[in-house]
Symmetry: C2
Subunit: 298 residues, 2 copies
């Protein structure tokens, strides 16, 4: 199944290169380079593969969900570029390479992120999907990355660093942590599954099941990320590790400890898998994907 | 007619406040404040009023073009916040008030801009316009603000500051200047007129006429802006003036001189007015608006 993932990711990458090539001469060379540098950097392509596999799981084709998958990766790419900025998380290493503002400069990095957002919408809007699928997909995407989703989560994550969370009760810290992660990372992962479902023509019931699956794997994905940061090495993750605790960030290992965090990740993965029983045998790639997230925590 | 403009702008502002109020509890208070601070700052609301008046000029209602008008102002607001950042134009005064990153901080300003982009699309996508009008409007908007439009123009504008333009011929400098302005300011102004036409159900011929009108007033708007910066005071413009020449920016007055710049602005306005003769009497507000731009240059 890992081979299948890699195969889909490689196919997706070549389609993504073609999509970037459609940018006309009005796009400055430097901007095009910065967008390509960040977007095409080596990566797992977790969100687009999730979208493509979810679409297949409900009977759609990879081509049906390609516009949504590209839009998701563009949104993810923009968020990484902006999150790494000096005024934000101030990271200089990403996917094993200098971050966009280090390789280019801050202004170029801000603009590359700013350009990726409308490019994501454009990719969906220009596609040959039906107007209803386009509208529904774009709505899901806009909400997931907006002030109540990804950007809101990033804002609260930055505020949490400045807040003395030690005065909060365990319940309050847990609620705060979950609320941040649900928006900062979870919303786009959940949207990835939902976009696959919409593109594949899923029924309302199946869409609901996919939505619950997406929510649950989104949370466990973030727990796994926190665990990797606490335990991993930069060789393994391609970015600096141990930074979260150095900055006093609110993370699962910090609030619950390593073992309890692992248990929670497992519990969410079990919930995710239970949610998609209604898909029958077709759910296998999504079950495998959920378990793969869990493996990262060990 | 100025009263009519102010009346529409006041109505628009109250609708915009209502739209921001739809942001749910997932949006952090600080982010909501920064968005409101920038978006609702006193301003002429040139782009939304242009969109609303264009819609009326083709027989549509203000309500038809309200979602597009709000989306345009949100995109304009995001672009101002990001353009003012220290890594970009580094401005601390905007619309007579401290800029967003001065009043809040850089991270909040970046995120407020990042949140306004999907909010603009969401405003269009959630509206009760027909799926075809929504799709077409969102496509026009995405293209206008993207890598080949507004963001591309801003990138080249920043690069122009670092480039020794004195080695270029007059023709090369003129071409470079026009290309930057067409994208940086012109694209969104042109899109404002086009969105009004689409929302009002204009025929392809009328849409083409509006598009030419929008292109021409976009160029003269930028010339007027350059002239204001060269001649105006910050009391009049609400922002620092004389900055362009201090930074060696490529501007119309710098390339052509004050008088020739004024003549070019007039010539574009004449072209704009000629483009919309096909609208008959209904074109009056748009004719007035075009002439109003020209008055700013004196």
């Amino acid at each position: 199944m890992l081979d299948r993932w890699h195969g889909i990711a490689a196919w997706f990458d070549s389609r993504l290169v073609e999509q970037l090539d459609t940018l006309g001469p009005g796009c400055p060379t430097r901007l095009r380079e910065a967008i390509g540098y960040s977007l095409l950097a080596p990566g797992k392509r977790f969100r687009p593969v999730l979208c493509l596999m979810a679409c297949e799981a409900v009977g759609g084709s990879l081509d049906d969900s390609l516009p949504g998958a590209m839009a998701l990766e563009m949104m993810h790419g923009y968020s990484l570029i902006h999150d790494d900025l000096p005024a934000m998380d101030d990271d200089d290493l990403r996917r094993g390479r200098p971050t966009c503002h280090v390789r280019f400069d801050e202004a170029t990095a801000i603009l590359a992120g700013d350009a990726l957002q409308p490019l994501a919408f454009q990719t969906l809007l220009d596609s040959n999907l039906s107007p209803e699928v386009i509208r529904e997909s774009a709505r899901i995407l806009a909400r997931a990355v907006g002030a109540e989703g990804m950007v809101g989560g990033q804002m609260d994550d930055l505020l949490a660093e400045k807040r003395d969370t030690s005065v909060l009760s365990v319940e309050e810290r847990t609620e705060w942590l979950r609320s941040i992660h649900r928006r900062k990372t979870g919303a786009l992962i959940q949207a990835s599954v939902e976009l696959g479902g919409v593109a594949g023509g899923a029924s309302p019931q199946v869409r609901q099941a996919l939505s619950e699956y997406g929510r649950a794997i989104g949370i466990s994905f973030q727990i796994a990320d926190d665990l990797l940061d606490a335990e991993g090495t930069s060789e393994k993750t391609g970015k600096k590790t141990g930074k979260d605790s150095a900055r006093g960030k609110l993370t699962y290992p910090a609030v619950f400890g390593i073992e309890s965090s692992r248990e929670q990740a497992r519990s969410w993965i079990n919930d995710a898998i239970a949610s998609i029983q209604c898909l029958g045998n077709r759910n296998e790639p999504l079950v495998w994907l959920a378990n793969y997230i869990l493996e990262r925590t060990h």
